[in-house]
């Protein structure tokens, strides 16, 4: 469930302005840090040559019809042919793409104004205008007939009714999102996604099958000058091929992009991918932690280590079919205090991870270290203290075993999805660590659908269908006590994590409920959070509270390792590596 750098950017960070630390001035409440707003990709001229073969994708895309896409590979493919409105650099500063200027937000936080460049056009030569965006949102994404997965991001509750925000064209280049309620993080949603050419999409409006199967929406031939590459071919389960777009709107001055072709090659196994890189058959691929030192020692390959926004977490089951001890904070703290994060990072991630204590990763502008309880490291990795905490919570030790309320040795289960070696190793390490405080743990590696449907989904008596959070009385079909799973944080809009830890969160599978946590998540989305310094304070408080409350044991933020041929120049490593890939080139 972790997203790679580009996937993460496409999926959760096609956002508005980066929220700096200052309070917004009139007409723009969130201002970017002082960063170059690239509209012409200032760069030296480089020879156009070669084919870049990207072997980083772990699976093939499902569709090039972007409104139907929910998988990251699809969004990545589409992103090669269409830039989108903005992107982010490695400091998470906004870099303009289709937008001519940064998003303007009204002082009341209800109106978002976007102004498009005037030199963008579709494949048939027709200009890309605000009308295309308004049509895309109102007639397609917000319609009843099109199953767009992110409708929720564009809805608000007004007088108890769920309504879509309004989208209106102001002039040929300008359009606005108009809300009735304040949602500070909406700025990160208004620049998500692309647009369809209205004159093409109209033909399929209202007919899902026709829209899904429309050749002209599935072959990306409508993308004109909107991205660095043009679609060539897509061989399923094999490769996706695009070629340099000579009309690219950002390449007018410097001739970008500098690769003749860009190929996404699909491999079935990490071993095959890495062998291909070693043999020089591909240009880049992800490197497993075990292989990093080997590739770092190779001539002709550079290995880049980047932070990610995904994290591995140990969930406790707070529901009625989980161990009741987890409902006590001191018990959770004792468990977290006995699971060493340094050892976990060294032995399982081989050093390529940062310890996690809450849900906001270090690269996020909302990360605040102050106040975080660092369970599992330093002084808070102490099994003797953990035993004392458990004793204080009413759980006695006998002959090295922890006794449950009935006086029997405590036996707990830990589940994770089979096939994920990292999570299986984490589960094993947790079992070992907990055995030192007298807890016997049974490991269960389960197929993903089984884990999802029989263990994590839950239903209350009388419920027709099970869901991920059917309220406090809901229980899963099969009982479990702990679960190793991966979550992700939107680094720009971390309040989305309420899905996992707020009482009414749609993905709150474990049933955690804390009114203080709920209130802080609510505040992060309230009017007062329009002031970015206030919002940062809210997130700091929330992180501190969560690190102490431990709705789950936050374990680690893994890093990604990417090996790239040393012939490729222009790379800027970081959380957004690839944001400037139009400027990458093969050295002479």
């Amino acid at each position: 469930m972790h997203l790679k750098r580009r996937e993460f950017l496409r999926l959760c960070a096609r956002a508005g302005l980066y929220a700096g630390l200052g309070v917004g001035l009139s007409g723009c409440l969130e201002k970017t840090k002082e960063a170059p707003q690239n509209t012409t990709l200032p760069s030296g001229l480089h020879p156009v040559k070669g084919t870049y073969i990207d072997g980083t994708s772990t699976g093939d895309a499902e569709t090039l019809n972007w409104a139907l896409a929910a998988d990251n590979a699809s969004l990545n493919y589409i992103g090669l042919t269409m830039d989108g409105l903005i992107t982010y650099d490695n400091s998470l500063n906004v870099q303009l793409r289709w937008l001519a200027e940064p998003v303007r937000v009204s002082e009341d936080g209800l109106t978002y104004t976007l102004v498009l460049r005037d030199d963008l056009y579709w494949g048939d030569g027709k200009p890309l205008t605000s009308d295309d965006f308004v049509y895309t949102f109102k007639n397609l994404l917000f319609s009843d007939w099109l199953p767009f997965n992110y409708k929720d991001d564009y809805q608000e509750t007004v007088n108890g009714k769920k309504l879509y925000v309004d989208v209106v064209a102001v002039d040929r280049q300008t359009y606005q999102f108009r809300r009735q309620t304040v949602y500070p993080e909406f700025i990160y949603r208004v620049t998500d996604f692309w647009a369809y050419p209205k004159h093409i999409a109209q033909k399929y409006e209202g007919n899902l099958d026709a829209f899904t199967q429309a050749d002209e929406l599935n072959n990306l031939r409508y993308t004109g000058n909107l991205g660095p590459y043009r679609f060539v071919e897509w061989v399923r389960s094999d490769k996706f091929v695009v070629e340099r777009n000579p009309d690219y709107y950002l390449g007018k001055e410097n001739g970008a992009p500098f690769f003749e072709q860009y190929v996404v090659k699909i491999f079935g196994t990490p071993a095959a991918r890495q062998a291909a890189l070693e043999a020089g058959d591909i240009t880049s691929t992800t490197i497993d932690p075990l292989q990093v030192s080997k590739f770092k020692g190779m001539k002709g390959i550079n290995v880049y280590t980047n932070p990610t926004s995904g994290y591995d977490v140990l969930l406790w089951n707070f529901r009625k079919n989980g161990w009741e001890g987890f409902r006590k904070k001191e018990v959770r703290q004792a468990f977290a205090e006995s699971i060493g994060k340094d050892a976990l990072i060294q032995s399982i991630y081989l050093g390529f991870a940062d310890p996690a204590f809450s849900f906001i990763p270090r690269p996020s502008p909302w990360f605040v270290e102050t106040g975080l309880k660092r369970f599992g490291v330093g002084a808070l990795y102490n099994k003797e203290e953990a035993k004392k905490k458990l004793e204080a919570a009413g759980y006695k030790q006998k002959e090295g075993l922890l006794l449950d309320n009935s006086g029997n040795p405590l036996k707990l289960s830990i589940i994770t999805n089979s096939g994920n070696k990292v999570r299986e190793s984490i589960a094993f390490l947790v079992k070992q660590e907990l055995s030192d405080i007298g807890v016997e743990v049974e490991l269960k590696s389960l197929p993903w659908p089984t884990m999802l449907n029989q263990y994590l989904k839950n239903k209350a008596p009388g419920d027709k269908a099970s869901g991920f959070n059917n309220g406090p009385d809901a229980v899963s079909e099969k009982s479990w006590d702990m679960c190793v799973i991966g979550f992700n944080t939107d680094v720009n809009a971390p309040s989305g994590t309420s899905s996992f830890f707020a009482s009414d969160g749609g993905l709150n599978m474990s049933g955690y409920s804390n009114p203080d946590v709920d209130e802080l998540f609510r505040k992060a989305r309230s009017k007062e959070a329009l002031d970015t310094s206030v919002r940062k304070g809210i997130f700091a408080g929330l992180s501190a509270l969560i690190s102490e409350e431990l709705p789950a044991d936050f374990l680690a933020f893994p890093q990604s390792n990417i090996g790239i041929s040393a012939k490729v120049k222009g790379i800027e490593p970081g959380i957004s590596m690839g944001y400037n890939s139009q400027l990458w080139y093969f050295e002479e």
């Binding site: 999926l11 997965n149 399923r236 062998a275 058959d281 449907n453 809009a493 994590t497 749609g506």
Partner: protein, 329 residues
């Protein structure tokens, strides 16, 4: 002769009708099992969407996905729709690849076919020869060596062998590309070169198996009266082996070869396709299973069943030519 042809025609027609009934049964069972299984197309999407850390209304997302897959309709209606489309030659739309299923399968079967065909030819040519030689030289060092390597060939997993071949011949020696290149024209010299390692990977196990079967069948026939008679007539040993023993020994082996060939649809070469990046039907169908792409899974199962039944029929027909004693009435 005419009578034989008529009975053969009737036999084939009858077998084809049986095949259709069996295929329909398989299709129906697969259709319902898929929908009643623990997974749903929504699961994978939910994992992706959950990973974004931004969607709050999961029920809405789930409903959207189910609507897209047509799972919001009653099960019997889904089945009726599917059968109705099937009768019109429409195998449905693959949601995991955004192609009509027919187009998807028609584009990708050839890769599996080429791999399996070449592997089978490679395995048959070498395996049969080795098997006969090993039987004729029974009890010699050569026989023991063949036996040893045969068991080795059967025991080595394709997965490991493929990776080893890539590491030695592609990475270290640079003789071959590490992956199959679909831009090369099929059956061209370059393409056949690219197929070398996959064919060795898939074919080595088959080769070992064939050599054991052929050795066993040859030994069995070498002790038969008709061989003794042939030798007594003064026929050269080569004629005895190739004309009398080989023809009889091949009967059981034909069945196995045909079954291997029918694996083109059932993903018999899945692991080899995965290792070498060959986008064949094995890979396509396994991806479809994990993506809960029902249309593709049902179609592949249906076609796989039909192909297997037809290959069985062809095997039976081949018997009549290999063994004049075999008759179908």
């Amino acid at each position: 002769m005419a009578g034989k042809k008529a009975s053969m025609g009737e036999y084939i027609a009858r077998r084809l009708i049986y095949s259709l009934v069996i295929a329909w049964g398989i299709l129906t069972i697969t259709f319902f099992l898929l929908r009643l299984g623990p997974g749903s197309p929504a699961d994978k999407y939910l994992a992706n969407i959950a990973a974004s850390g931004r969607v709050r209304d999961i029920a809405q997302v789930q409903a959207a996905i189910e609507a897209r897959y047509g799972l919001d309709k009653p099960l019997y209606l889904q089945y009726v729709d599917y059968i109705s489309n099937l009768l019109h030659g429409n195998l449905g739309w693959s949601l995991s690849t955004s192609l009509p299923v027919t187009e998807l399968l028609s584009k990708h079967w050839i890769y599996s076919f080429e791999l399996i065909l070449l592997s089978t030819v490679f395995a048959v040519l070498i395996g049969v020869g080795i098997g006969i030689y090993s039987a004729v030289k029974q009890g010699t060092k050569a026989d023991y060596a063949v036996t040893f390597f045969s068991f080795l060939g059967i025991s080595i997993p394709n997965f490991w062998l493929g990776i080893m071949l890539i590491l030695i011949f592609s990475v270290k020696l640079g003789l071959f590309k590490t992956y199959y290149d679909t831009s090369l024209p099929l059956f061209s010299l370059e393409n056949l070169k690219a197929m070398t390692l996959p064919v060795i990977t898939l074919g080595s196990g088959m080769l070992a198996g064939y050599s054991r079967y052929v050795r066993s069948a040859t030994l069995d026939n070498l002790r038969k009266d008709f061989v003794r008679t042939a030798r007594a007539k003064g026929l050269p040993e080569r004629t005895v082996i190739l004309k009398h023993v080989f023809r009889n020994a091949m009967l059981p082996v034909i069945t196995i070869i045909m079954l291997d060939l029918s694996g083109v649809v059932f993903g018999g070469a899945y692991l080899t396709e995965i290792i070498f990046g060959i986008p064949g039907l094995g890979r396509i169908s396994f991806n479809a299973i994990f993506a809960d792409d029902y249309a593709v899974v049902v179609a592949v199962t249906l076609i796989g069943a039909m192909v297997t039944l037809i290959f069985n029929l062809l095997t039976d027909i081949a018997y009549t030519f290999l063994d004049p004693r075999v008759r179908y009435v």
